[in-house]
């Protein structure tokens, strides 16, 4: 099959989903009101609460939610064949992610822009709010560990990417200083910074950097992981304006450039898909059963709980009109879906033959960023970009996504640890340096604990990360459903996705418990048990909250001002 057709089919379906399904949800279920005074107006302080142009807001929402995860997930899940991955990404984006992201923004806007975590406390129960914090901490822990391992692997596989990736940090710092210390307008730093970023890729090819194969008994992968976490720890302590803000911004620009480049190359080259539609041999390659594992392997790109945090954390405070929630939320998730879609195309049509594809996908978890770079590089090369340049470019793109998430993730982990220090009166944990060391240390334990001393097996935790992410999505969908029930509106459009993701993530966690136990990964068994306990509690909370609401339904509780 031709990949152009697949791209058009997928994008067309998402567009139709936006036009029809999300319109139906906006009008009949969430009943958006253009006259409703959003928190950006009613609580305006020009700091957090600022009415913002919906295109700008969409740009933020999209770049905040899309990153390395919608690349890694589909690039692993393709081992079951491209059809299941394609269907889950497209249908998941329309019927799951769209409703979830949109709903999180809507619920927050209707409740004084409170975050989903706070809403869980208000709407479901106080217990579930604690649960929410634990799930978020686990999510951050895993995402940091996985991304650290993934970046280390890429540095070893593509030594030409080392210089461009670290140069991006320098470019970001220069932009930060130019803007905040010198008062330069963002326009020229953007143009010049972007040019430098791509020019440095050539330098990276001329001067590839490799670490010694072994130093102090540590293999190259382990050395990179240590360096990366040392960096992430330092970066998370730096002022936001100096590094995180310009880095995030560059990343956003990169995302648009990368998406344009990939889709442009696919349309021009129109490669043929060589991967099998359904891979009957997946089981022999060590892949777990497709149901339920597909639905947690691809989390971001189909539905991801992380989006609810962004939507209710910052987006809802800046939404100008309530009706913008559809544009921002739904199109934000579709943007991420389109990244997952182009990844599917890259890893299924970017190989010359089925044999090449099978060589890449010789076992479960072998795909990831490497396969995306290989396949995507081949597609980009077929329209005239030198192969080595294209591959380095895609590596740099994926690594920068992952790196920025790590920077922000370690910072958030530190905040949570400091907050625990306050709650439980442990003054040592309230110290920023101590909290950072604890955060980085816990990530390192996981990164090495999962894959042994070389840190190579970190991808084992990828499905666990997906499971946690889906649990979070389930919690958010629960909050939206309870609000809908209270308002006496149909809740099946959020309830069905909730039951589906909860069931799949619970089954996946059970399956992983068994496979981790039999392979002797006891640290991960412990982690998985935590996830299972959290999942059981979420389901109990869901059942009790919904039963309570059904009984109390005739009495309208004024949770949202209508």
């Amino acid at each position: 099959m031709n990949a152009t057709f697949l791209a058009i089919l997928g994008l067309g379906a998402m567009f139709a989903g936006y036009q029809f399904y999300s319109k139906f949800i906006a009008e009949k279920i969430y009943r958006l009101d253009p006259k409703f005074e959003t928190p950006s107006h009613s609580m305006r302080d020009d700091v957090d609460y600022v009415p913002t142009n919906r295109v700008v807001l969409w740009g933020h929402h999209f770049t905040a939610v899309a990153g390395a995860a919608p690349i890694i997930g589909p690039a692993i899940a393709i081992i079951w064949g491209w059809v299941p991955a394609f269907l889950w990404v497209v249908l998941g984006t329309i019927f799951f992610a769209g409703v979830h992201d949109f709903g999180a923004i809507w619920a927050s806007v209707r409740n004084r822009a409170r975050s989903v975590g706070a809403l869980t406390g208000d709407v479901v129960s106080h217990r579930s709010r604690t649960l929410f914090m634990i799930v978020i901490f686990l999510l951050l822990l895993m995402v940091n560990a996985v991304f650290g391992v993934a970046i280390a692997q890429e540095f070893i596989a593509m030594p030409s990417s080392v210089i461009p990736v670290w140069s991006a940090v320098a470019v970001a710092i220069v932009i930060g200083v130019l803007i905040y210390r010198m008062g330069v307008h963002i326009f020229w730093p953007t143009v010049i910074g972007t040019i430098i970023l791509y020019a440095v890729i050539y330098l990276g090819e001329i001067v590839p950097i490799t670490l010694p194969a072994e130093m102090f008994g540590l293999q190259a992968g382990a050395q990179w992981i240590l360096i990366l976490f040392l960096y992430a720890g330092i970066a998370s302590m730096l002022p936001v304006w100096l590094l995180l803000q310009p880095r995030d911004y560059i990343n956003g620009i990169q995302l648009f450039v990368g998406l344009g480049l990939l889709y442009g190359a696919v349309l021009l080259a129109s490669p043929t898909i060589v991967a099998p539609a359904f891979n009957a041999a997946a089981g022999d390659l060590g892949a777990p059963p497709i149901i339920p594992l597909l639905f947690v392997t691809i989390a971001c790109g189909a539905i991801s709980g992380f989006h609810g945090l962004v939507g209710s954390g910052t987006t809802s405070k800046q939404l100008d009109k309530e009706t913008d929630a559809r544009f921002v939320g739904v199109l934000g998730s579709f943007g991420e879906g389109s990244l997952a879609l182009v990844t599917i195309i890259a890893v299924s049509a970017g190989f010359a033959s089925l044999a090449d594809w099978q060589a890449m996908y010789s076992s479960f978890g072998r795909g990831g960023i490497g396969a995306f770079v290989e396949g995507g590089g081949n597609i980009v090369a077929s329209v005239g970009v030198p192969l080595a340049f294209g591959k380095t470019l895609l590596t740099v793109m994926a690594v920068l996504f992952a790196g920025t998430t790590m920077d922000a993730g370690v910072r958030l982990q530190r905040y949570i640890i400091q907050e625990w220090g306050v709650i439980y009166n442990i003054s040592l944990l309230q110290n920023g340096y101590v909290a950072t060391v604890v955060a980085v240390g816990s990530c390192l334990v996981l990164a090495f604990g999962a894959g042994g001393a070389d840190g190579s097996g970190g991808m084992i935790i990828w499905p666990l990360f997906g499971t946690t992410n889906q649990l979070l999505a389930g919690l958010t969908l629960l909050v939206i459903s309870v609000i809908l029930v209270r308002l006496g509106r149909p809740s099946r459009y959020t309830m069905v996705p909730m039951v589906f993701v909860m069931t799949m993530s619970f089954l996946a966690a059970l399956h992983q418990l068994w496979s981790l136990y039999t392979t002797g990964q006891y640290l991960l068994v412990f982690l998985d048990l935590l996830i299972i306990v959290a999942a059981v509690f979420v389901m109990l909370e869901a059942a009790s909250a919904l039963m309570r609401e059904r009984r109390a339904r005739p009495v309208a509780v004024p949770i949202t001002a209508e």
């Binding site: 295109v55 700008v56 963002i186 936001v240």
Partner: protein, 97 residues
Amino acid sequence: MGAAPAAGVMDRLRRRFASARALLAEFYVSPYRGVVARARRDEDDLFMLFVFSELLGVPNPATYYTLELQPILLERFHEWHTRMGMEHSPLDGLRCC
């Protein structure tokens, strides 16, 4: 004959460029507006502590200079103590409300 439409086009291009610049700036600033404002406020609070340190009994070698700043910072001091949950000024020598 061709000058007038060309000027119109240039004008339109300039406007487009200006709005693109504004959009880009907004794209850079808006997600971190709150974080940066809070960081700045923390720095300002530290500065205020220096300025009012003598009133708290902390000797300050630069009092001669900071004394002049006290009336300027008075309004911000009021903001600070209300933000910290104190309805009235905690300092005897400084009655702002």
